[in-house]
């Protein structure tokens, strides 16, 4: 079955002409048609595509990809999971889309997501919740729920996604697939609808690290249109993927093994540790002593930046505009009240609060000071270790509706993932086990620009294990 093949194998088939890009694309289109109604992983699908005769000469040769609906795609609906942009057709392409299209990737469609990337369950989407292929009553995680769900059910060989506080890694963990958040600045944010500018990063979700490495090399690198884009040569991750890793030193922070985490998850971590030790790694204790401040710090910085980034949605130049707009004030207030969902409104309000006169120093600037402490903790740890291991999430996937009235509980979902965003470090989630048929994710953080180390370590883990190859029966 085509959807069992890795991307590397598909590329080989395509170049050997054993498979045509049309056949491959149609194959996935049919799977989407058949299975998406159960999952609601896609907001829009590509009905057709232009003939691409020269695609065989590209690196990807026509590998299909699903794009999170946060990436602007020229001439296509780009909704960001929101009513505000429900009918918005972007006039331009995001850099990541341009680069992957030039490299030969073909777009299957745009995937479902939490509204404006704010959420950890895909439940805030204007287009309805997305389901976890492992159990349709459960959430796939968020905000990149659609991408993770689509990949887990093999409706796409790979999907783009974005991560601000864990939005690639947490859904990857919940859906039993691999998800990479690169170093902040390694993939251009141009064309990626902004949530929290100093935290947002584009990345990939796919079954394996090997799949991701191929796409990561093509998408990453300096973009002059993004002032926060890194202009530095880095090692190719695909080239180094199979190299036997030098004895890795892996650090585990005590705080990440706290008693609030699901014991089955902690158990799976223990098993993963054994596996890495078998592979020659050394495991030591490290201390991320300010990690208990990750969540409060994030929930000051992210909403603050978001409250400003979302001011452009005012009904004047594009997007939703309220019918009820007698005055300028009511145009703004009604358009935004109608166009935004509750979670987005909350975050805009709390964001305005922490930036407002009298509170700016106490909250926003203070949070940026804590951010430095957190970044320093990682710096210290990396003097002793190559990678930091933890669970990706403290809990297993939860039921749709279970936490939607408890945003605070939802926020704590990201406790292990947020640190990497605050420090701008690359991080990856990869399947390390199952419990009662539900996937469990392990999480690595590496130093800046060491995506190669992350992908290499996970690649070797995935050669010795087969968690990442599991597909929910219903979709196989």
């Amino acid at each position: 079955m085509l959807h069992h093949l890795s991307i590397k194998e598909l590329i080989t088939s395509l170049s050997e002409k054993k498979l045509s890009y049309e056949e491959l694309f149609s194959y996935y289109q049919e799977r989407i048609q058949k299975f998406n109604p159960k999952l609601n992983a896609f907001i829009s699908v590509n009905e057709s595509f232009l003939d691409q005769d020269s695609i065989i000469e590209t690196k990807l040769k026509g590998i299909p990809i699903a794009h999170k609906d946060i990436f602007c795609m020229k001439g296509h609906l780009t909704t960001c999971g929101s009513k505000m942009l429900a009918n918005f057709k972007s006039p331009y392409d995001a850099t990541i889309i341009t680069r992957l299209a030039s490299a030969g990737a073909l777009t299957l469609g745009k995937t479902n997501m939490d509204e404006f990337a704010m959420g950890s369950s895909n439940e805030t989407s204007f287009f309805g919740p997305c389901k976890n292929p492992w159990d349709l009553k459960l959430v796939p995680g968020g905000s990149s729920g659609g991408s993770a769900s689509a990949v887990a059910a093999r409706l796409a060989p790979i999907a783009t996604a974005t991560d601000t506080g864990g939005s690639i890694r947490q859904p990857a963990a919940f859906c039993g697939v691999t998800g990479l958040k690169p170093t902040y600045g390694m993939i251009s944010r141009f064309g990626m609808i902004a949530f929290a500018s100093s935290l947002d990063q584009a990345g990939f979700i796919a079954p394996s690290a090997e799949d991701i490495a191929i796409f990561y090399d093509l998408a990453s690198g300096y973009d002059p249109k993004d002032s926060t884009s890194i202009n530095e040569q880095v090692a190719s991750t695909t080239k180094n993927l199979d190299q036997k890793p030098n004895a890795l030193t892996i650090g585990i922070a005590k705080s990440s093994l706290d008693k609030h985490a699901d014991p089955n998850i902690l158990n799976a971590i223990k098993q993963a540790v054994n596996q890495f030790e078998k592979m020659g790694a050394k495991i030591i204790d490290i201390d991320l002593k300010n990690s208990h401040l990750n969540v409060p710090t994030y929930y000051i910085i992210a909403p603050a930046e978001a409250s400003s980034n979302l001011s452009r949605f005012d009904g004047v130049r594009y997007g939703h505009r309220s019918e009820d707009s007698e005055s300028l004030q009511s145009l703004y207030a009604n358009t935004r009240s109608e166009g935004f969902g509750d979670e987005v409104k909350r975050r805009i309000l709390i964001g305005s609060y922490v930036l407002s006169a009298g509170f700016y120093d106490a909250y926003y600037i203070k949070a940026l000071r804590v951010r430095r402490l957190i970044a320093n903790d990682y710096k210290e740890a990396f003097k002793k270790v190559d990678l930091i291991l933890s669970p990706t999430t403290p809990n297993l996937p939860f039921a749709i509706g279970e936490k939607s009235n408890d945003p605070i509980s939802m926020y704590h979902n990201d406790a292990y993932t947020i640190g990497a965003n605050l420090a701008g470090l690359p991080a990856i989630s990869f399947p390390i086990g199952f419990h009662n048929g539900l996937p469990i994710g392990g999480h690595f953080v590496a130093q800046h620009l060491r995506e190669d180390l992350l992908l290499n370590a996970v690649n070797h883990f995935q050669k010795e294990t087969d968690f990442h190859q599991q597909i929910p029966q219903e979709f196989d």
């Binding site: 990436f71 331009y92 944010r189 452009r312």
Partner: protein, 477 residues
């Protein structure tokens, strides 16, 4: 105005920097384009777009800082100023709060025969907003975002000015300076400079400043002076009758000759400034500052001093030339090319005949279709005596816009001045014979008659005779 009140004024001048493209996008900054034809997705604040800083904007700001002896920040950052308004597409303006690029400078203005120092608190970079056109018949406002994203340098002065005329003088000087530096085109009609005035009054002896109001969008020197005077008067009347001044923003109504309070632009403004996370700190190197310092043009005050000291121009003439960048450039170039004329003589011609030409044609010296080379050549010919003053003037007109050489034009218009002594002597002889009575009068001591005789010779030669030589020849006869 009651003489025990003193007006205190500070000005915030927004200078549009004359870059080709906008501060954060590659759109054109040309004035007068079709609405929204120069508004890209970045200028329009589309979802997903990002700002990238224009290098030239930093260079121009540094130039201003160097010209005002200010501190240039080695690290400067941009901040977001958040508020909602239709001409502000992103719902925030990218501006500077902490760490502005220029701080603590000053200018010296000539006011009331004195040199007065006006301190500049800071000058920072920001993006301009778009324009709104209010259409009451439709009950709608129409928005053109071509101007959104044009780079501005906001120059904030200390409240150092003590009269409306002084404020106007300061604004004129800043206008001159930024034009001189080549960082702004100085076109007030097109809004290249806009001024907000902070006005308060206080009892003359008091050291404590009164509550101030801000008058926005004053775009001509005349308006500034009038508006400040009217506002000061308004404040004085309130205070004299026992009232208090409300700190607020006001607009100047030229028709009604009054200022009125602005409503609703942003009441209860909490701009929630924070550093823009889409931009990184701009680090300004010593090399960059040095290289800009080396390319700095001579400033008006420096030129003024130099013209007086080196060229012996009088104060008025020096000022007139130094305060017109195009004229000063023309003047200095003419000096370089001239072989016989002194700077003073060139100045006379430039401030006289050539300024008249420029005014008649309603242009500036930079648009004159006469080069400094041409002008100095023609004036040299006059100094040498090959042309009379009248002829030189005419030749300047003929040469304006003409491809023909000066020699050809002289021939064409039959202008060569007769300087041949023999030829002139013969002509003088003839004239003296015809005017024997007057010649006798001159010979017997009536010096004034020589003018008449010279005039007759000039007439007979159709203006071509060299008058100096003619005078010598007559005197020698």
């Amino acid at each position: 105005m009651k003489s025990n009140w003193e007006i205190v004024i500070g000005l915030e001048i927004h200078v549009q920097l004359n870059t080709a493209s906008k501060i954060f996008s590659g759109s054109s900054t040309d004035f007068g384009a079709k609405p929204n034809s120069q508004a890209s997705i970045i200028d329009l604040g589309y979802p997903g777009v990002l700002p990238v800083l224009n290098q030239s904007v930093i260079e121009k700001a540094i130039k201003f800082g160097l010209a005002t002896d200010a501190k240039i920040s080695r690290k400067t950052i941009f901040s977001r100023k958040n508020y909602f308004y239709p001409d502000l597409p992103k719902g925030y303006q990218i501006s500077q709060l902490e760490l502005p690029i220029v701080q603590e400078g000053y200018v010296e203005i000539n006011f009331n025969e004195e040199i007065k120092k006006i301190r500049i608190t800071r000058a920072h970079l920001e993006e301009d907003a778009g324009k709104s056109i209010h259409d009451s018949s439709l009950g709608k406002s129409k928005i053109d975002l071509n101007r959104a994203g044009t780079p501005l340098l906001e120059i904030v002065s200390e409240p150092d000015m003590r009269s409306a005329a002084e404020a106007s003088s300061y604004m004129k000087y800043v206008h001159l300076l930024v034009t001189y530096l080549g960082i702004c085109d100085g076109n007030l009609q097109e809004g290249s400079l806009r001024c907000d005035a902070n006005v308060s009054v206080k009892p003359r002896e008091s050291k404590k400043l009164g509550t101030r109001t801000e008058i926005k969008n004053l775009n001509s020197f005349r308006f500034i002076e009038k508006a400040i005077e009217i506002e000061a008067q308004r404040q004085i009347e309130i205070l004299d009758s026992g009232g208090t001044i409300t700190q607020e923003t006001r607009l100047f109504d030229e028709e009604k000759q009054e200022t009125r309070s602005m409503r609703s632009k942003e009441e209860a403004n909490d701009y929630r400034y924070f550093p823009d996370p889409d931009l990184l700190p701009v680090v300004i190197s010593e090399e960059l500052i040095k290289s800009i310092q080396q390319s700095m043009p001579e400033l008006p005050n420096q030129k003024n001093k130099r013209y007086i000291n080196e060229y012996q121009l009088d104060q008025n003439d020096a000022a007139r030339i130094a305060n017109d960048f195009d004229l000063a450039t023309f003047f200095e170039s003419s000096i370089n090319h001239s072989k016989h004329a002194s700077p003073k003589q060139l100045a006379n011609w430039l401030l006289g005949k050539l300024s008249n030409m420029v005014n008649e044609k309603n242009i500036s010296f930079s648009k004159l279709k006469l080069s400094p080379v041409d002008v100095s050549s023609i004036i040299d010919l006059y100094i040498l005596g090959n042309l009379s003053q009248k002829q030189a003037g005419e030749l300047l007109e003929y040469k304006h816009g003409s491809e023909a050489s000066i020699e050809d034009l002289i021939t064409e218009h039959n202008m060569s001045q007769i300087s041949d002594t023999q030829e002139l002597s013969d002509l003088v002889d003839k004239i003296l014979k015809e005017n024997q009575v007057q010649f006798d009068e001159f010979k017997s001591g009536n010096d004034k008659v020589i003018g008449y005789l010279i005039g007759k010779v000039m007439q007979a030669s159709k203006g071509k005779a060299n008058p100096k030589l003619v005078k010598e020849i007559i005197e020698s006869k």
